[in-house]
C-alpha cells in the first residue's frame, strides 16, 4: 500500500503541488486499497476452499481469531511469529531498493542463529545488557557477512546475486549441520547447541507467551531502515543505484560499493531474524533438520506485499505472522489442512503481484464513469 510513499516524504510536502491534493488522496487510497482487497479476497477464497473440502468455515475463522487474539498468550505468540518476518521482510525490501534480489535470507538466518547461539553460551562473565548486545551483534554480523559475500561477488565480479545467495543458503545449512554434529552439540540426543546463558536472553514481555523484546528491535529496525533509505546520503545512493546504476555511476556514486553495502545490511537484517529467534524464543540453535525454516523465503512475500516499504513490511509481516499462527489452530479446531493457509498466503501474493489488473479495473471504471 505504500509503493509510492517515497515520493511523498516530508521533503515533498512543500511542493507547490497543492492543486494535486485531491488526486493524490485518491491515488493513495487506491494504493492502499489494492493490498486490502487482495487480503480480503484471499481470505474469502480460503473460506470457500475450506467449505468445499467439507470443513466448517465459521469454525476456521474462529480458530484464526482464537489463535491470534484469543488470549494474552495467543496475542504474544502471534507477535512471536510476526517478529522474524518483519526482519526478513525488511531484508528483502532493503536489497530490493538497491536493485538486488536477496534470496539468501535462509542462509543468513542460519549463520546468524549459529553465531548468536555461540556468543550466547560460550561467552561468560558479562553483565546482562552487554552480553545480549554482544550476542545480537554477533548474529547481525554473521548474517551481514553471509549477505556481503554474494554482494561482493555481484559488485566486483558481476556474478548474479540470485544464484549466489541460493548457493550460500545451502552452504549455511550444511555448515550448520556439520558444526552441530561435530563441534557444537550439547550433550544428549538432540542436535542442538547448549542453551544460551540467562544473560544473553531477550527479556520476555508478555508472559506466559514467549513474546520478547526482539519485537521492539524489529520495529526499531523498520524505523531505522526508513530513515536510512529516505533521510541519509547512503540511502539516497543506494536507491539511486537501485533505480538506475548507470546514472548513479555517472553521478560519481561508487556502484559496486553500494551494492556490497546493501547486501551487507540486507544480510544483517535477515540475520537479526535468526538472532532474535535464538535469544528470545529457542534459547539455543537447533540444527535445521527439516531443511530451511522458511522465514527467509517468506520475507520475499512480505516485502512484495509491503511494497518494499518498511511500514508496509511491518503490516505485511503482521498478516503473514497471523496466518502462520492460525494454521495449526485451524487444524486443531476445524481440521483444516495447513495447506489452506498456504493457499490464502499464495493468493494474497498473487493478487498483489497482479495489482496492475486491479489498478486497471479502477481506471477502466473511472473512464467509463467519465464518459
Amino acid at each position: 500500500m505504500t509503493g509510492t510513499v517515497e515520493t511523498r516524504d516530508p521533503s515533498r510536502s512543500q511542493d507547490q503541488g497543492r492543486p494535486q491534493g485531491r488526486n493524490r488522496l485518491r491515488a493513495l487510497l487506491i494504493e492502499a486499497l489494492v493490498p486490502i482487497i487482495a487480503v480480503v479476497v484471499a481470505l474469502l477464497i480460503g473460506l470457500i476452499f475450506i467449505a468445499i473440502t467439507g470443513r466448517d468455515p465459521a469454525k476456521a475463522a474462529e480458530a484464526l481469531w482464537v489463535a491470534n487474539f484469543g488470549s494474552r498468550r495467543a496475542i504474544g505468540e502471534a507477535l512471536v511469529s510476526v517478529t522474524p518476518l518483519i526482519f526478513t521482510g525488511l531484508s528483502v525490501a532493503f536489497a530490493f531498493r538497491a536493485g538486488l534480489f536477496n534470496i539468501g535470507g535462509e542462509g543468513q538466518y542460519i549463520v546468524a542463529q549459529l553465531a548468536a547461539a555461540v556468543a550466547g553460551y560460550a561467552i561468560t562473565g558479562l553483565p546482562g545488557w552487554l552480553h545480549v548486545t554482544v550476542a545480537i551483534l554477533a548474529g547481525a554480523l554473521a548474517g551481514g557477512l553471509w549477505g556481503a559475500i554474494p554482494g561482493l561477488l555481484k559488485a566486483y565480479r558481476g556474478v548474479h546475486e540470485v544464484v549466489n545467495t541460493i548457493m550460500m543458503n545451502y552452504i549455511a545449512l550444511y555448515l550448520a549441520n556439520y558444526l552441530i554434529a561435530n563441534y557444537l552439540k550439547a550433550p544428549g540426543a538432540l542436535p542442538v547447541t547448549p542453551e544460551i546463558l540467562p544473560t544473553a536472553r531477550l527479556a520476555q514481555i508478555l508472559p506466559p507467551s514467549r513474546l520478547h523484546t526482539g519485537l521492539f528491535l524489529a520495529l526499531g529496525a523498520a524505523v531505522l531502515v526508513y530513515l536510512l533509505l529516505w533521510h541519509t546520503r547512503w540511502g539516497y545512493e543506494i536507491r539511486a543505484v537501485g533505480h538506475n546504476p548507470r546514472a548513479a555511476e555517472y553521478a560519481g556514486i561508487d556502484v559496486p560499493r553500494n551494492l556490497a553495502l546493501a547486501m551487507l545490511i540486507s544480510g544483517a537484517l535477515a540475520g537479526l531474524a535468526g538472532t532474535v529467534q535464538v535469544l528470545g524464543v529457542q534459547r539455543a540453535f537447533y540444527d535445521p533438520v527439516g531443511g530451511f525454516v522458511g522465514y527467509g523465503f517468506d520475507g520475499i512475500a512480505v516485502a512484495l506485499l509491503g511494497r518494499n516499504h518498511p511500514a508496509g513490511v511491518v503490516l505485511a509481516a503482521l498478516l503473514f505472522g497471523i496466518l502462520d499462527r492460525a494454521a495449526p489452530t485451524m487444524q486443531a479446531m476445524a481440521q483444516v489442512p495447513k495447506a489452506t493457509i498456504w493457499v490464502v498466503q499464495a493468493t494474497v501474493i498473487l493478487l498483489v503481484a497482479a495489482d496492475q489488473i486491479i489498478r486497471s479495473l479502477f481506471k477502466r471504471r473511472r473512464e467509463v464513469a467519465a464518459r
Partner: protein, 358 residues
Amino acid sequence: MSRKWIAGIMAGLLAMAVLAGCGKSATDQQGGQSQQQSQQGSAEGEKKPFKAAMATDVGGINDQSFNASAWRGLQKLKEEIGAEVNYVESKRQEDYETNLATLADQGYNIVWGVGFLMTNAIGAVADQYPDTYFGLIDGEVQGKPNVVSVLFNEQEGSFLMGVFAAKTTKTGKVGFVGGMELPVIERFEAGFKAGVKAVNPNVQVITVYTGEFNDPEKGKAAALNIYGQGADVIFHASGKTGEGVIQAAKEQNKFAIGVDSDQNHLAPEHVISSMMKRVDVAVLTISKQAAEGNFPGGQTVVLGLKDNGVGWSDTTLWDKMPPDTKEVATKWAEAIKAGKVTVPSTRKELETWQVPEI
C-alpha cells in the same frame, strides 16, 4: 500524509488486538480453570469421549513414515474406543511448543509429540499443563508424571533389513541412506550393517547421509549415486527424503527397503520390505492405557523385536529374495528376541561386534 495513514491503520490494528486480548484474557484464566474442572467432572460423570491428538514434526502428517504411523495409531484408537482424535502439523522448530500447547488448550486428554526434536518442547509444555497427558516418540523426558517417553530398538529391526539386503544383493554391494547424523539414525545404520555382516561379511555397504529428512530430491540423488556405484539394494532411514530413494529404485529397476511404515505401496515391485517401527502400536497402546486411567506417567518405554515394536512389514517380497531368506531372518529374529544376540546401536559398538554363532 502516507505516514499518517499507516500510523492510523497500525494504531487501529493494535487497538483491536489489545482490546480483544484484554477482553478475553480476564475471562480466559477463569475459563481455563472451569474447563479443567468440567473435564474432570465429565470424566467421572456423563461419558465424554476420550480425546487424543498429536503434533507432527516438520515432516508433516504425510511423511509416509513415523508421523503417518503415529496417526494410524490414533485412528485405530478412534475405531476401538471411539476416541476423538486430531493432529496438528508443525512448520518450524519454534512451533512445537505452541502447537502442543494449542492441543492441550483444546482439551485433548493426551497429546503426542512425534519425533525426538519435540523433546524440549514436550518438557516445557508438560509443566504448563499438568492435567494433560503427554507422550513423546523417539525422545526421552525424565521425571515428569504426566509424560511418557517411547523409544525403539531400531537397530534390531534394521539388523533384519541388513539380512534381507545381504541375501538379496547380486552385486555384493548394498547402500544405506540416512537423514542426518543423529543418534537415532546411527542405530539404524549400525543395526543394518551388523545384519549385512552376519549374512556375508564380504558385502560392501555404501553409506550416504543427505543432511535432510524432508527433501526427496536429495534422497533420489543419493540413491542414484549409490546405485551408480554398483549397489542393488538400499535401506533408507531418512523420513520424507526416503521417498526419493524409493523413486530412484523404481527408475533404476533396483531394490529399496522402506522404513517406519510399510512403504511397499510407493513402489510395489521394488520395495522388498520395510523396517516397521510400530509407532502406531505404541501410540494406540499407551493412549488406551491413558483412557483407562493407567497412564504409565514418568516412564520410558523401550520397544524392540520382542515387543513387536520393530520388525519387517507384512508386504515383504519373499519371492524377490533367495528362498532361504525368511528362514535365516527368522532364526536371527528369534535369537535377538531371546537375548542371545545383542545388536550394536552405534558405529563404535559395530566396530568391535563379532558375528555370534546361532
